[in-house]
C-alpha cells in the first residue's frame, strides 16, 4: 500500500515547518516577482533602437544602496524570527536524561526499530499509536543514514558514533511513507520507511502480537521443509526468528515477516511470488545488498517461502 505522501495531512510536528515554508515561500515569490518584473521592464523599456544617443552615465546613488541593503536585512530579521518559532515547535527540546521510547538503528540498507518498554522489535515498518509523542534515539550500525518521513516532521541523520534524538508523533491514522535521505551506498534508493499510525488499542494489539513467537514448527510439508532449510543454509547467522535458535542480528528480524506489507525496505510488496523471487536471487532484486545468493533450487525456494509465510 503506497499512499501518496502528499495527500495525508502533516502531523503536529511537521505543520510548523510547512507554515514556515509557506511564509518564506510567499516572501521569496514576492522578491522573485519584483526582480523578474524589473528585469523584464528594463529589457523592454530600455532596449536599444539602434540610433539613440549615448545614455546618461549614472555612477550610483548611496541612498539607493542603503535602501536595498537595509530592506533585505529587515525582511531577513522577520524570517529569522519565524525560523526560531518553527524550530521550537517542530523540534521540541528534551531533558538531558530523557529515556527513549523507540530506538531506531539504521543499517545498510534497512531500518531496525526497538520499542524500549515493550521489547518489540520491528524492521522497516514501524507502528505508532496515534496522538502519542514518542522520543526516539537514532543510531547507525555502519555509515551515515538519515531518517525522513515528511508528513511526520524533520529529517535527522543517523550518524555512527553520534546518537541523535527526535520526537515522533502521528496525529491521524494511516500509512506514512518515508525514506533514507543521506546517501549511504549502493542501495540508498531502496531504504524506505513505512510508518503505520493506528489507534492505541490497535497499536497495543499489534505490539502484543509482535511479542508472540511461533510455538511450534509449522505443519505442512513445504513449510516444515522450509524450516529445515532455514537451519541448513545458516540463515540464522544473520536473521532472528523469535522462539527458535536463530538469533542473528545482522539482517532484519523475521519473526513476523509474513505480516509485513513490503520487504527489503520497501523494495517490493510482500507476496509469496515476490518473496520467492527474492530468495531465488537477492542480488538481482537489490544488487549489492548484503544478502548473498544461496543458489537455491526452485523447490527449495518454494519451501522456504512457505515457511516464512507462516511467520505472521
Amino acid at each position: 500500500m503506497q499512499t501518496d505522501p502528499s495527500l495525508l495531512r502533516d502531523s503536529v510536528l511537521a505543520q510548523p515547518i510547512s507554515h514556515l515554508f509557506l511564509l518564506v515561500g510567499i516572501v521569496m515569490a514576492a522578491i522573485l516577482l519584483l526582480v523578474t518584473v524589473l528585469v523584464l521592464y528594463v529589457s523592454f523599456r530600455y532596449r536599444s533602437d539602434g540610433v539613440s544617443v549615448m545614455p546618461q552615465q549614472e555612477f550610483g546613488r548611496t541612498s539607493l544602496e542603503i535602501l536595498w541593503t537595509v530592506g533585505p536585512v529587515l525582511i531577513l530579521v522577520f524570517i529569522f524570527a519565524a525560523t526560531i518559532h518553527a524550530m521550537k515547535e517542530s523540534d521540541p527540546g528534551f531533558a538531558a536524561n530523557q529515556q527513549p521510547d523507540l530506538v531506531i538503528v539504521a543499517h545498510q540498507w534497512w531500518w531496525e526499530a526497538r520499542y524500549v518498554k515493550s521489547g518489540v522489535i520491528a524492521a522497516n515498518e514501524i507502528h505508532l499509536p496515534v496522538g502519542k509523542r514518542l522520543f526516539v534515539r537514532l543510531e547507525s550500525a555502519d555509515v551515515i543514514h538519515d531518517w525522513w518521513v515528511p508528513q511526520l516532521g524533520r529529517k535527522m541523520d543517523a550518524v555512527p558514533g553520534h546518537p541523535n534524538f527526535l520526537w515522533l508523533e502521528a496525529d491521524s491514522p494511516g500509512f506514512y511513507s518515508g525514506t533514507c535521505a543521506e546517501y549511504c551506498g549502493a542501495e540508498h534508493a531502496w531504504m524506505r520507511i513505512g510508518v503505520i499510525a493506528e489507534g492505541e488499542p490497535t497499536f497495543e494489539h499489534w505490539a502484543q502480537h509482535q511479542l508472540e513467537v511461533p510455538s511450534q514448527l509449522p505443519t505442512g510439508s513445504d513449510a516444515a521443509q522450509g524450516a529445515q532449510l532455514f537451519q541448513q543454509f545458516t540463515c540464522g547467522n544473520c536473521h532472528t526468528i523469535g522462539g527458535t535458535s536463530f538469533r542473528g542480528k545482522i539482517g532484519p528480524d523475521l519473526t513476523h515477516i509474513g505480516s509485513r506489507l513490503t520487504l527489503a525496505a520497501g523494495r517490493f510488496q510482500n507476496t509469496p511470488a515476490n518473496l520467492a523471487h527474492w530468495l531465488t536471487d537477492p542480488q538481482a532484486v537489490k544488487p549489492d545488498s548484503h544478502m548473498p545468493n544461496f543458489q537455491l533450487s526452485d523447490a527449495q525456494v518454494r519451501q522456504l517461502t512457505a515457511y516464512l509465510e507462516t511467520l505472521q
Binding site: 536599444s48 535521505a181 551506498g185
Partner: protein, 557 residues
C-alpha cells in the same frame, strides 16, 4: 565602433628577457610548451569544455535512468559512480578551470601587463589540472570510479564501505588539482598586486579583476582545508588511520566540518568570477557605466568574509544542536544581503540604458533571474526547519543547479560570447547564439524547476531509482526531457564555437565598443599584449578616449 587614435602614454616594454612569449615554438609543441598566459588560458578553457562534455554525458545518463520509476538502464553501482563523477567533474574540472582560464587570459590584459607574474608556474598549474583530471577519470578503468558522492562523506568513503580504489583516485586527483589552484591563486594575486600599468589604481580595477582577486584569496585559504581533509582520508584508507573511522574512535562529523570548511568557500570561488564577468558584460551592452561600483566591489569582500562563517549550514540535519544551527542560520541569511546588492546594481545599470541584446547580453540577463531563483531557494534553506525537510532532496538539487548552472554557467556563456572575439579574432554567430540561448533557457528551467516539487513531495537525492508514487514519474520525465533539450543547446554552442572559429566574421580590436584595456589591443592580442597603452585615468580608459567631453575621471571615477 570607434577608431580613436591613441595618445601614447608610454611604450609598452620592448622585451629582451629570454624565456618569454616572443620566442615560443610553432605548432603543437608551442602549445604544449607555452608559458604565455593567453595560450594557457585557452588550454584551461578547452580542458573545461572537454570535461563539460563528460559531465554533461554523465548527467544525461542519470536523467535517462531516472526518466521512469524502477528503471534498469543503469545498475545502482554504475549510477552511483556516475553521479559522483558528475558533481566532481562539474565543480573541479569544468567550473574552476573555465573561470581560471578566463582569469588567466583576461587579467594581464585588463591591467595592461605583458603576462602574469610567474609564467612558468602558470603553465605548471595548468598541467597539474590536466594531470589531476586524467588521473581522476582513469579510475573508471582501474577498478571503478569513486562512488561516495562529490563530498565523499565518511565513513562511507572509508574501507570497507568503499573498497575499490575509486576514492583513492578521487583523493589524489583532487589533491593535485588543489595544488594547481593554489599555485594559480598565488600567481594571480601577485600579478594583480604588482603588475598593473601606470594609472591603474586598485580603485580603477575592472570588476572582473577585482572579483578574481578576492576569489584567489578564498582559494588560498579554502583549498588547504580540502588538501588537509584528503590527506587525512588517504592516511585512513591507505595506512589504516583512524581519523574518520567511527568504529575505532574516529569522527564522521570531523570530515563534514573539514570538508565544508573548504566546500562552502568553494561555491563562492566558482560564483564570484562569474559575477565579475556579468559586471563587465552588462554595462557594455547597456551602454552605461556599472552602477554602484564601490558597492559591488565592497559586497564582494563581504561575501568572501561571510563565506568562511557559514559552512555548517550544510549540516543542519546532522544533529549539532539548535544553538549551533541558529548561529549558522544567521550567517547564511546575512550572506544574501551583499548578493542582493549586486543584483540590484546590475539592474540599475540596465535602467536608463540603451540595451543591445547580443547573445552575451541575453545570457547575462537570464543569469539575473536564474541566479535570483537559486539565491532565494538558498534563503529557504537558511530558515533551517525548512532545511530539515528539504535538504538531501531534489529541492536541494534544484537549488544548487540554479546557482551553479543558472548562475556560473550562464555567466560563463555570457563571458564566452563577449570575449571570444578578443581571443580568436572572430565573432561567434549571433544566429546560432540566440538559438543556443533560448533552447538553454527553456531546457534548463524544464529540467530543474520541476525538481523543486520533486523534493517537496518526498524524493531524496542520489537515488538510482524511485518508487512509482503519484506524480514522481511525470515530474522525472519532464526533467529528463528538459535535460535532453539542454544537451541539444550545448551541441549548438559547440557547433557555434567550431564554425565561428573557422569562418566567423573578423572581430577587429573592439567589436562591442567596450571600455576596458583588453579592447585597446588587437584581436587576438600580440604575444606581448600591447604595443601601446592608452592613458589610464579612470576605470574606463577607452570611454575617456572616445568621450573627451565627458570622461569618467571628471566624475571622480
Amino acid at each position: 565602433m570607434s577608431d580613436v587614435p591613441y595618445m601614447p602614454q608610454m611604450p609598452a616594454t620592448s622585451d629582451h628577457v629570454g624565456a618569454t612569449v616572443e620566442h615560443e615554438k610553432a605548432g603543437l609543441l608551442g602549445w604544449v610548451a607555452t608559458v604565455d598566459h593567453k595560450r594557457i588560458g585557452i588550454l584551461y578553457l578547452l580542458t573545461s569544455l572537454v570535461f563539460f562534455g563528460a559531465g554533461g554525458i554523465e548527467a544525461l545518463l542519470m536523467r535517462i535512468q531516472l526518466a521512469r520509476p524502477n528503471n534498469s538502464f543503469l545498475s545502482p553501482g554504475a549510477y552511483n559512480q556516475i553521479f559522483t563523477m558528475h558533481g566532481t567533474t562539474m565543480i573541479f574540472l569544468v567550473a574552476m578551470p573555465a573561470l581560471t582560464g578566463m582569469a588567466n587570459y583576461l587579467v594581464p590584459l585588463m591591467i595592461g601587463a605583458k603576462d602574469v607574474a610567474f609564467p612558468r608556474l602558470n603553465a605548471f598549474s595548468f598541467w597539474l589540472l590536466a594531470f589531476g583530471g586524467l588521473f581522476l577519470y582513469f579510475s573508471f578503468i582501474a577498478g571503478g570510479a569513486p562512488a561516495a558522492g562529490w563530498f565523499s562523506y565518511a565513513p562511507l568513503s572509508e574501507q570497507p564501505y568503499s573498497s575499490t580504489t575509486g576514492v583513492d583516485y578521487y583523493a589524489i586527483g583532487l589533491f593535485v588539482l588543489g595544488m594547481g589552484s593554489i599555485a594559480a591563486a598565488i600567481n594571480l594575486i601577485v600579478t594583480i598586486a604588482g603588475f598593473r600599468a601606470v594609472g591603474l589604481t586598485i580603485r580603477r580595477l575592472p570588476l572582473f579583476v577585482w572579483m578574481v582577486m578576492v576569489t584567489q584569496v578564498l582559494i588560498l585559504l579554502a583549498l588547504p582545508a580540502l588538501n588537509a581533509s584528503l590527506s587525512m582520508l588517504l592516511i585512513d584508507r591507505l595506512m589504516n588511520g583512524h581519523f574518520f573511522v567511527t568504529d575505532s574512535g574516529g569522527s564522521a562529523l570531523l570530515w563534514q566540518h573539514f570538508f565544508w570548511a573548504f566546500g562552502h568557500p568553494e561555491v563562492y570561488i566558482v560564483v564570484l568570477p562569474a559575477f565579475g564577468m556579468i559586471s563587465e558584460v552588462i554595462p557594455v551592452f547597456s551602454r552605461k557605466v556599472i552602477y554602484g561600483y564601490e558597492f559591488v566591489a565592497a559586497s564582494t569582500v563581504a561575501i568572501a568574509v561571510l563565506s568562511f562563517l557559514v559552512w555548517a549550514h550544510h549540516m543542519f540535519a546532522v544533529g549539532l544542536g539548535h544553538s549551533i544551527d541558529v548561529v549558522f542560520a544567521v550567517g547564511s541569511m546575512l550572506i544574501a544581503v551583499p548578493t542582493g546588492v549586486k543584483i540590484f546594481n546590475w539592474i540599475a545599470t540596465m535602467w536608463g540604458g540603451s540595451i543591445r541584446f547580443t547573445t552575451s547580453m541575453l545570457f547575462a540577463t537570464g543569469f539575473l533571474v536564474m541566479f535570483t531563483i537559486g539565491g532565494l531557494s538558498g534563503i529557504s534553506f537558511a530558515a533551517f526547519p525548512i532545511d530539515w525537510q528539504v535538504t538531501d532532496t531534489y529541492y536541494l538539487v534544484a537549488h544548487l543547479h540554479y546557482v551553479l548552472f543558472g548562475g556560473t554557467v550562464f555567466a560563463i556563456f555570457a563571458g564566452v560570447y563577449y570575449w571570444f572575439p578578443k581571443i580568436s579574432g572572430r565573432m561567434l554567430s549571433e544566429r546560432l547564439g540566440k538559438i543556443h540561448f533560448w533552447l538553454m533557457l527553456v531546457g534548463f528551467n524544464m529540467t530543474f524547476m520541476v525538481q523543486h516539487f520533486m523534493g517537496l513531495i518526498g524524493m531524496p537525492r542520489r537515488v538510482f531509482t524511485y518508487p512509482d508514487l503519484p506524480g514522481w514519474a511525470a515530474l522525472n520525465m519532464t526533467s529528463t526531457i528538459g535535460a535532453v533539450i539542454m544537451g541539444i543547446a550545448v551541441a549548438i554552442f559547440l557547433w557555434n564555437l567550431i564554425v565561428s572559429f573557422v569562418t566567423g566574421e573578423p572581430a577587429g580590436n573592439n567589436p562591442w565598443d567596450a571600455w576596458t584595456l583588453e579592447w585597446s589591443t588587437t584581436s587576438p592580442p600580440p604575444a606581448h599584449n600591447f604595443d601601446l597603452l592608452p592613458p589610464i585615468r579612470s576605470r574606463r580608459p577607452l570611454w575617456d578616449l572616445a568621450h573627451p567631453e565627458d570622461p569618467d575621471w571628471k566624475h571622480g571615477h
